[in-house]
């Protein structure tokens, strides 16, 4: 066991590698005019000198390369250093630019949708997106939703009991209330204009579909005490009897 003394657990290693995530500002360039870049960069730095002083920086050439604008990497790093920033990486550069950057000891970062990938290897065949599974779980509530309670469903929301005044029910999909709806009901909260609200007695404080709302004052008294559905048509909420 003692043949390899260097590997005994009693000798703690002097170093180890760990993975860590940092937030680093990225300088996205949309012009290859070095003079303009220098001028605008210094303006920015002047706005928050404390924030930018000796700040690490990654510069992003993706936009430039999309428009086939080349840039002098060495001159660019000089400008960045002159502004008090420390370039620590290049992103979105083509093979030539990456090589130049490496020569300046600036590491290359990749972005997955980078055009630099195009210049180096043939575009990977992107598999067609999976047909989106619409089976986001439906939330079922059987107890009354009381004043002050909030319910959020990432799919459809079905409530078999009443929803009290002062309660708030929200769903990214449709809302069904098989009882009296007195609280606030917001369907399609992530912006789905096809979401609908169904309820058997509409006395809601507020109804909303994809951000288009009506408060109870705007509702006609006649809509209550019968099953209705609410949907969106040309950005207007339509309340219709279910017969």
């Amino acid at each position: 066991m003692s043949t390899d003394s260097q590997k005994t657990p009693y000798n703690p290693p002097a170093l180890e590698f760990k993975s860590s995530t940092f937030t680093v500002p990225v300088l996205v360039l949309s012009s290859n005019d070095l003079l303009v870049i220098e001028q605008q960069l210094q303006e920015k730095v002047r706005l928050a000198p404390e924030f930018f002083r000796n700040s690490p920086l990654v510069f992003d050439l993706l936009e430039l390369n999309k428009r086939n604008l080349d840039i002098d990497i060495a001159a660019l790093t000089d400008i960045i250093r002159k502004s008090g920033l420390l370039p620590i990486g290049i992103r979105g550069g083509n093979a030539e630019q990456n090589k130049l950057a490496l020569a300046l000891h600036i590491p290359v970062y990749s972005i997955h949708n980078s055009v630099s990938a195009n210049s180096q290897k043939p575009k990977a065949i992107v598999p067609p997106p999976e047909p989106k599974t619409e089976s986001v779980a439906t939330t079922l509530i059987t107890q009354p939703v009381r004043s002050g309670q909030r319910i959020y469903a990432s799919g459809d929301l079905i409530i078999l009991a009443q929803v009290s005044a002062g309660a708030e029910i929200m769903a990214e999909g449709n809302i069904h209330v098989y009882n009296t709806l007195r609280g606030r009901a917001l369907a399609g909260v992530q912006g789905n204009p096809d979401a609908r609200i169904f309820c058997s007695d509409l006395q809601a404080e507020l109804i909303s579909i994809a951000g288009n709302y009506k408060v109870s004052e705007d509702l006609e008294k006649a809509v209550g005490k019968k099953p209705v559905q609410i949907y969106l048509q040309d950005h207007a909420l339509i309340i219709k009897d279910i017969v």
Binding site: Q143, P144, R146, S147, G148, Q149, A161, A165, G166, R182
Partner: protein, 269 residues
């Protein structure tokens, strides 16, 4: 198995303490050993309604802080041997209570008592939360007016989400509705919500309707729970409530305006 009953409402002034005193006395009079706890630390009232304010030595905060034993703090009621009162502290505030201390007191009481009635303070903050947290049954006291009904609704939401039973996924707290200060005459005139209106909004099992009654004020001021006034309508209504809670089937009274023409002529039934 002992049961912990919380008397709660959200809104203040609806009759929680009157109800706590009455049902605790009612349960004790039926032969069940009962303790009633005042959770309204800083605004102690239950001792007045129970008529034991001159015998308070220690209170719930002393017990929680270990300054007195539970038996030292419990006051035996002078009307009924089966009833004990644990008063609140008047000089402290709700922050003197903590979940651990309250839980310990209730566990200890459960060993010895059949029913523990917790008189909740108004509001939904710490005192009210601790009063209801360990409950098995909840008496939600509501007045027939919209703000009280909404506050009760809010409290019902908290009972079903923030109690120990809810947090530990046990069988939910049994909730009962107690409609107090009910005046059939005013319902008839349309300036008070009816039993049906309140039931419609809260959809809760109605345990009883307590009529608005002068006897409640008289009883409070004299320090005798109104249930002991067997001639009064409110006293009888509370007796019905206790009987129904214990499983008896009693028809609801005091809901209709019974003083019709013949009622006036021949006196009330």
């Amino acid at each position: 198995m002992a049961r912990i009953i919380v008397v709660t409402s959200g809104k203040g002034g609806v009759g929680k303490t009157t109800t706590s005193a009455a049902i605790a006395m009612g349960l004790a009079k039926k032969g069940h050993k009962t303790a009633v706890i005042d959770f309204d630390v800083g605004l102690r009232n239950l001792d007045l309604i129970m008529g034991c304010e001159r015998r308070v030595v220690y209170d719930i905060v002393n017990v929680i802080n270990g300054e007195a034993s539970l038996n030292q703090a419990l006051i035996r009621d002078k009307h009924c041997e089966q009833l004990y009162i644990l008063p609140a502290s008047q000089t402290r505030d709700k922050d003197a209570l903590n979940q651990e201390g309250v839980g310990k007191i209730l566990e200890d009481l459960k060993k010895d008592f059949k029913y523990v009635v917790c008189d909740s303070p108004a509001g939904i903050e710490k005192g009210a939360h601790l009063a209801m947290y360990f409950a098995d049954d909840a008496f939600v006291v509501t007045n027939p007016e919209v703000s009280s009904v909404r506050d009760s609704d809010r409290m019902l939401g908290l009972l079903s989400s923030k109690s120990r039973r809810a947090e530990q996924n046990q069988e939910p707290i049994k909730e009962y509705l107690l409609l107090t200060r009910y005046s059939p005459e005013r319902v008839k005139l349309g300036d008070m919500l009816s039993v049906d209106d309140v039931q419609d909004i809260l959809s809760l099992h109605l345990l009883g309707v307590i009529p608005e009654s002068k006897s409640v004020l008289t009883a409070s001021n004299s320090g005798t729970p109104v249930i002991l006034d067997e001639k009064s309508d409110a006293g009888q209504a509370y007796a019905d409530v206790v009987a129904r809670y214990l499983g008896e089937d009693r028809p609801h009274r005091f809901i209709d305006d019974k003083k019709g023409f013949f009622g006036k002529l021949f006196g009330s039934k």
